[in-house]
Subunit: 190 residues, 2 copies
């Protein structure tokens, strides 16, 4: 998506460790008008009429998933990290390794909110090594629901997470795939 790539080039910063910072419009301050146009782009790729649930993970994925959910008229569900007081019994959960926090994190959804009849589109703002998305696919499988596809705003192609899902035959669509960020220069996959 050309508009997203242009924003990454004009506002993105590459930090040590190949961290790509796009907090001015994608995952801290949020340009929801841009997200509306990203929703339109996803809707050109995926058959939205088939989707009954958008699944994302806290925190920053909630913004993109919410705007898509609102525009498409489809409910969304976000997986929570770690256990909080107001989750009763009846959860589906799995472990993922968080590279941000450098430890295993439990992600969960309440089982009554994700049903075997659901056709799920997983969405997130960022995909790097793919641990978070792998966790979400596990939750979908555990619920007995169908995975229709994975929609990502920015994929760090050089970390391999996206290609892993492509090899598994999953329909994954990333609006911008960054193939290298050497010396602070961002290069996109064609």
């Amino acid at each position: 998506m050309d508009e997203l790539k242009a924003r990454i080039l004009s506002e993105g910063k590459v930090l040590p460790g190949n961290i790509i910072k796009v907090g001015s419009f994608l995952n801290h301050r949020i340009d929801t008008a841009l997200m509306g146009r990203m929703a339109d782009e996803f809707a050109r790729h995926f058959d939205i009429s088939k989707i009954t649930m958008i699944l994302t993970i806290e925190a920053s994925g909630i913004a993109l998933a919410s705007v898509c959910s609102y525009k498409w008229g489809i409910p969304m569900l976000f997986a929570k990290k770690a256990k909080s007081d107001n989750i009763e019994n009846g959860i589906i959960c799995c472990e993922i390794y968080s590279y941000t926090y450098k430890k295993n994190v439990t992600v969960m959804v309440e089982s009554e909110l994700l049903k075997p009849t659901d056709n799920v589109l997983i969405m997130d703002d960022f995909l790097a090594n793919g641990e978070a998305i792998r966790g979400l696919t596990d939750l979908v499988r555990e619920a007995g629901a169908s995975l229709e596809g994975i929609g990502i705003a920015v994929e760090k192609g050089f970390q391999g997470g996206g290609d892993k899902f492509r090899k598994m035959g999953i329909d994954i669509y990333s609006l911008a795939v960054i193939d290298s960020a050497e010396n602070g220069t961002i290069k996109f996959r064609d």
Copy 2:
């Protein structure tokens, strides 16, 4: 807002400790169509034309703030909890006590994303004791920005957080104020 109150009565559950669970439509699975109508209700109370930034806090506040942001054409910013790798120097932060996690948590925004010229509407899905919202008002003050008001979906009136801000003369508008939840029966403030 009658529609929200009706949903709380039909789908909400009161758990021990007066925890009110509305995860089926407000803060786990999200009914973004309802949130669109909540945005309309907030826009009847607040002068949206004055607002330049919606400020919320991760995680579940992001959904409501995103839908309002998209509908109103105003950017949103969410405060993050704890320090993660991809936040550089230049942050505004404060401490809040999390009753969910029973410990102090640092909340922060990048200072370049919240400016002294900003007119801020703080939004969140839930208000109980008001610690999270108090933290957000501190961030607004620290940034030198103007606080225009606070918009809340569900206020637990019996925990006093909302009335504390009202006494300070802050324009706080909650779409549903729950004044008691004794024996599992939810009663709203008139």
